[in-house]
Amino acid sequence: MIEFQGVTKLYDGAPAVRNLDLVAPTGKLTVLVGPSGCGKTTSLRMVNRLVTPSSGTITLDGEPTDRMNVAQLRRRIGYVIQHAGLFPHRTVAQNVATTARLAGIDRKTARRKSLDLLEQVGLSASLAERYPWQLSGGQQQRVGVARALASDPKFMLMDEPFSAVDPIVRGQLQDEFLRLQREIGKTIIMVTHDIDEALKLGDQVAVMREGGELAQVATPRELLVRPADGFVADFVGRDRGYRHLGFAPIDNGLKLASEPVVQLGASPAEAAEAAIDGWVLVCDAAHRPLGWTDIARLRGPVREDDLNLSSTLAPMDGSMRELLDAALSSPSGRGVVTNTDGTLRGTIALGDLGGILAPLHRTGAERHS
């Protein structure tokens, strides 16, 4: 557990962080989110004393940090920053082993550990002997995470760890990190200014506002459904009504229509036979959906070029947000739902979704009042 008790940081008399009270529970990921300059990084860096608080106390598992030896304090806490901050003069494997070596682990064990960790963060062993400049930004970021983990710290501080990479890589890194955190269960404080990232990763989200004040601490779902004030509501975003569907699982009893399908190579007549309202769903031999085809445009047997690929698929173990998106993005107006193995389960018409979403909306409204 990391606890802030009335922590304030003044720079030239101006507060960067004001009277912060916050608990980051053991084994959970707490996200600090807020607009630029609101004091997130300052708060984070006060934990390992890269910044000294002007007043207040920070404790690790109840022990005040200001009484600890500063180097030892820092060795107990993994630290990951935006551009990874890798040592340019050490190979990837040496970089990762650094924290283990500082923790007093012998060279051989540290190296073994570092190779294990590289694998755990999804890096191939062939990268181990490269230097940081020979890696992509996303790979460097993974090395940064592995390095923070190599001393097996109980606590981790992460300052915008995924923001220096493109959105696709960022999504991958987030997913991988979530998976990793489920295994390792570290006590983490992560800083981001990206509310989507906060809602996706956080067990608990702390929203800060300009001037270093805490606006609200809550679970992601609660934040969407019950923002404490106008600032939080605004920050969480105008599409929060839609986004909170991301936390509602698809009901197992969901009624789906069975959808007649054809395979690639089907004749226009076969396609027309199966089509409903002019659109037919094309699947592969294993019954996995490939895309929709507009039969009015068919000039011969169904080819790959005839597929409309705009629609997303909602896996049955996904969220209501994915279900709604599948329906909204489908040219036929029928959302495609798959089983967990990717095979077609059925479809649901956009018009039928209203009735399914309504109860969700009611629970949201009740919580609000």
């Binding site: 890269l50 820092r74 060795r75 901050g85 040592f87 400049w133």
Partner: protein
């Protein structure tokens, strides 16, 4: 060119060459050993960094002949003692390398230093295992300049009687004889080129992480 003369005097020339090598290399070694802590102090001196570096740089403007003549008086040594030359050249090396070391340490990226701090490096091990290795390319650059300039400056010491390749110039002048002068120039340039290549080679060996064209 009188090759007979070269042949006859080859022992003497070789002796001068070895002396030249020592007289220029030893001050660089001593200077580097002193410049590392001094350069670090200057690097850490905050607002004093600029003025201190200017002050140290001024040392380089003292004429070498003046130093060779004055040092015996300060050090209480004989005028012919090669120690005078070694001390004088060490002063020049310091003037160059204090700045170089300070620049080298300053060239270490901020985020690298912050990452080291955040991991719990103590100051001394951070200096020795992170900052100094990363400063090697800059320091090696300064070292090359210092070596080459020493090889050139040391020949002036022939005027105060310290024997090295510069003695070939005074000899040639006295005898109105070109051969020793040409031999002296060729050997000085060869020595400079060889030492320069050696430092470059060592610095590359020590910094395998540096990106360089394949």
């Amino acid at each position: 060119m009188n090759f007979d003369w070269l042949w006859r005097e080859s022992d003497m020339i070789f002796d001068l060459f070895v002396r030249h090598l020592w007289l220029s290399a030893v001050p660089v070694a001593i200077g580097l050993a002193l410049a590392l802590p001094l350069g670090w102090l200057v690097h850490r001196s905050g607002v004093w960094r600029g003025p201190l570096l200017n002050l140290v740089g001024l040392l380089f403007t003292i004429p070498s002949l003046a130093l060779f003549v004055l040092l015996p008086w300060f050090l209480g040594t004989q005028i012919l003692d090669p120690i005078n030359v070694v001390v004088a050249l060490t002063i020049y090396v310091l003037a160059l390398l204090v700045r170089t070391v300070s620049d080298g340490l300053g060239s270490v990226p901020r985020e690298t230093l912050q990452a080291a701090n955040a991991m719990g490096y103590r100051p001394l091990s951070r200096l020795l295992t992170v900052e100094l290795p990363l400063a090697i390319p800059v320091i090696a650059g300064g070292l090359r300049v210092a070596l080459v300039s020493n090889i050139s400056i040391v020949s002036v010491a022939a005027l105060v009687g310290t024997r090295q390749l510069g003695s070939l110039f005074t000899q040639g002048l006295q005898l109105q004889f070109l051969t020793p002068i040409i031999a002296g120039i060729v050997l000085s340039v060869a020595l400079a080129a060889a030492l320069d290549a050696l430092v470059l080679f060592l610095s590359r060996k020590l910094t395998p992480w540096e990106r360089r064209p394949a």
